[in-house]
Symmetry: C2
Subunit: 548 residues, 2 copies
């Protein structure tokens, strides 16, 4: 079988989520990249800002074959690695208008303004990219203008959902394109790559509309200001909050850079319909009667440097929480953020606000399909092969079970991990090799200058701290000259260390006296074993000895 | 008003949960401590093993007045600080038989065997402790033999629930003592201190019985071994798993030290009813046909050194996960543990096991009362004053709302934080001063030798790493002698650092040449500013210069 007749699909991603951040499609000399996103670090990845998929090895031989990059929607986990991808790949980027607007903003902030070949396309459009004929279809998600893809290839039709749900009453009144999914089914779908994020959530994801009623109740009962925190990319939530503000005779102010930017982009592109007279500046809002004000702020994940985080800590610049404020967290904690979100909520209560959040009122709904929606998708599309993606392994396994439930044969379901090459030959799926991939840590301004060894070193430092020992040795008699200088950082309280300090100095005196040959090594061993014996800890130890 | 006529209640606790770990009751010269527990550290409290309430200041003047310590049940967050409390307070400890057994085990492991005055009491008993007449009443919780307290004081009757729920069909067939709560109400309850852990959970907490059906289904479908991971203190879960094993013709093996210990203690005291013939050793279980084996293991929180954690990582000593194993996590992730629990689940899937956990099957229920149960409690007890405890501030606020809903006047509900003195004078509640309290970090073998500054230092080390610079200066001409020696740890990749290395050396050569006076300070500043300019990072920097 010549290489040219094989369709290859490779899910690429950071960390545990399979195919979340990027997917590569390849047929002969033509390749297509779908999405280029980032992931947020886990709790024990200390000092890491974000993570991008390590796509270099996978793309190595294919750089000249990439006919296009399609971005399904404007969330960071689908767009956030685009500037890194453009370092390696020259190809046009296709996205819907809102997604284009958000990607453009991101490129501008990274000094890449005008350097990318961004092409606006719309749901319903068909793009020919080499051997691939890609049809974009609209899907509901927690950001407007999201699309899934029907990818017609010489090997067969692939349906790639991207992030989606089946909200029948979305805020923009634009539900997922069921008819198109049905049409794909009639054509015959070789394989379905399907969002599995909420495969462990029973039932249906609630409609965004339920939030309207919750917001009405909040604004009805609030005697003072109402502050709503959410993701800046949750454009439809902005619309809902503005509509509720209007119904309750309140004006709305946007604050937080990404909130202000995204409001501007989405308004200019027509994705927001908020009358100008409803909007006030932050400054204006601060001088208005409290019960006429709604503010939209960033920080729904408890990020300490966000507006909400600073309000909780009492370190915000322009305004503070007031007694009588009602603060709504219209969001769900990203796994790993639970503690910081709840700490933020507690601190806001402590400052006199009433705080409303997901567990006590329906002020948020998920953007992903739950179990019954996933089953409906499978029945609508009726693929020959099912490849659950967008989720941790446990979610893919559960999506596979849902697939079996609706009658997809077990042997036609491929639960794979990132880097696994999936091949289609003569209409049959087979697993190819698994390519080296993994992920790259991005830390502050640097890309990839921190690897897992460094993370482990940092972890060790953070558990045990560090000790530096300096000592001078008289080169005439080989005795310790003066006192050893012992400095610690992150190790133990000074007053507790004092008692150990003296014993260690005495021990060092002996070590120096008896040293033959490798003084530094002997000193290091002495410090190490003494500290461990006294404290049961293993700090990192630097030794500087000097003979003079 | 003389001090002697005031009843004081002080909630004490670690971290954010109010009155979770300890409560002090005081009337004149008589004081009573309820519970002495620990808390687990939050994610950003790096290198901390556990946390205990800082009770020293609060107990300072009262040590001779403590008439007794009552432990409501055997969980760590109510018992785990007892050895630290006994360092400061000499008083008899009262607890029910199972709680006594678990506390005794803990004291033995801490070298305090036989040194504590442990007194066994039972639900229904009344204990006279100075001015306090304490009646113990049974409550359902996720450990058998838990009690709440009716504390009759000269100022009035206080009801202290401890952790509880209203399971009508608990595994031990011993529901909460509703009649006693009603009897308290008839007597007239001055104040209710009530568990608020699940105040943000709507409805009723499901009965432990629902787990039976889930376990039956798991064992019915499992073709190989069944491994069940849960808290070692979840004695009733051991019973349920053993019963299910028996129904499905399987034998049961216990593994993990705390699991084995607690099984032994609970069996000896009659809290477990598992026939001997049902139990096999771990070794035996490994040689039996897979479909006849159930194993109970520790590690339901994904702890890397637990049995389940080691199985997930492939580092367990005596046995490995086998293809075909079914692994049940009969547990709920403690907030902050979500990531490690889900990582463990993913790794177990990766090793070929089928993993069943709370989100996909009802294999766990909470031990705490949800909203409707909390309302029932309020209506049963009808206290004059409500003091929600056992929860973060947000949970107490929600419990207060539930109190208002059932008609407790808002002004009779006190939402307080740890250390807040609550006083009752002539039947009226007033807030006294707030005592210094807080918490103490316990780190490895040491108690309190790590404070918040150290935690911040560790945090900084973990974000940026550390650099040590050593250089020798020729004391004749003041020039750099040889090359500066630059060592890093947790900073950046060696190959990336190489490019900076050279520039830094050149810069240091100049610094040494131009130094006048404080060479070390100049070197430090040079390194600091150069590293920041090149990397935008602030590692901790040690400098050792030497003139010879």
């Amino acid at each position: 079988m010549s290489n040219s007749k094989i369709l290859r699909i490779i899910p690429i991603g950071g960390l545990g989520e399979v195919g979340k951040n990027m997917t590569l499609y390849e047929y002969g000399k033509d390749a297509l990249i779908v999405d280029a996103g980032l992931m947020f670090p886990e709790n024990d990845m200390i000092g890491i800002d974000y993570i991008i998929p390590d796509f270099s090895e996978i793309l190595k031989d294919k750089k000249d074959n990439i006919r296009g990059i399609i971005i399904t929607h404007g969330h960071e986990d689908h767009t956030g690695a685009i500037q890194h991808l453009l370092d390696e790949v020259q190809a046009p980027i296709y996205a819907t208008p809102l997604t284009c607007g958000l990607v453009e903003g991101k490129l501008n902030r990274n000094g890449l303004a005008g350097k990318a070949d961004l092409r606006r396309v719309n749901a319903g459009d068909k793009i020919q990219l080499g051997a691939f004929s890609v049809e974009l279809f609209h899907v509901s998600h927690s950001i407007p203008d999201a699309v899934g893809l029907g990818i017609e290839t010489p090997a067969g039709l692939i349906v790639h959902t991207g992030d989606f749900k089946f909200d029948h009453t979305p805020v923009d009144n634009w539900p997922t394109d069921y008819a198109k999914l049905g049409e794909f089914a009639q054509r015959g779908v070789l394989a379905l790559l399907s969002d599995s994020t909420n495969s462990t959530q029973p039932g249906w994801t609630k409609s965004e509309r339920v939030i309207d009623a919750a917001l009405d109740q909040v604004m009805e009962e609030a005697e003072g200001r109402v502050l709503v925190a959410t993701f800046a990319s949750l454009i439809s939530r902005m619309q809902q909050v503005a509509d509720a503000a209007q119904r309750h005779g309140r004006k709305i102010a946007f604050t937080g850079r990404s909130m202000v930017d995204n409001h501007k982009i989405a308004s200019e592109l027509g994705y927001l319909n908020i009358p100008d007279r409803l909007i006030v500046s932050l400054e204006k809002s601060l001088s208005m009667p409290d019960n006429q004000v709604v503010m939209m702020v960033t920080g729904s994940q408890g990020e300490p440097r966000s507006i909400l985080g600073r309000l909780a800590n009492g370190t915000n610049h322009k305004f503070d929480v007031r007694e009588g404020d009602t603060i709504v967290l219209s969001s769900h904690p990203i796994p790993g953020n639970e503690e910081s979100v709840y700490r933020t909520i507690n601190n806001l209560f402590r400052r006199g606000a009433n705080v409303i959040y997901e567990s006590i009122a329906p002020v948020h709904v998920s953007g992903h399909a739950s179990e019954e929606e996933i089953k409906l998708l499978f029945n609508l599309v009726r693929p020959k092969y099912l490849i659950p993606v967008h989720g941790e392994l446990r979610m893919l396994k559960q999506a596979a079970k849902l697939g079996e439930m609706v009658g997809i044969p077990k042997e036609n379901i491929a639960v794979v991990e990132n880097g696994q090459v999936i091949e289609f030959v003569n209409g049959e799926l087979r697993l190819g090799k698994r390519l080296p991939g993994g992920y790259i840590f991005v830390d502050g301004s640097g890309v990839g200058d921190v690897d897992q060894d460094i993370v482990h070193e940092r972890d060790a430092l953070s558990r045990n701290g560090v000790i530096m020992v300096r000592l001078d040795v008289d080169q005439r008699n080989g005795q310790l000259k003066g006192e050893p200088e012992i400095t610690t950082r992150g190790f133990m309280l000074e007053e507790d260390f004092d008692s150990i300090h003296k014993g260690l100095k005495n021990r060092l005196r002996k070590t120096v006296k008896n040293a033959n040959g490798s003084l530094e090594k002997d000193v290091l061993n002495t410090v190490k074993s003494y500290i461990f014996a006294e404290t049961k800890r293993n700090p990192y130890i630097f030794v500087a000895t000097n003979r003079n």
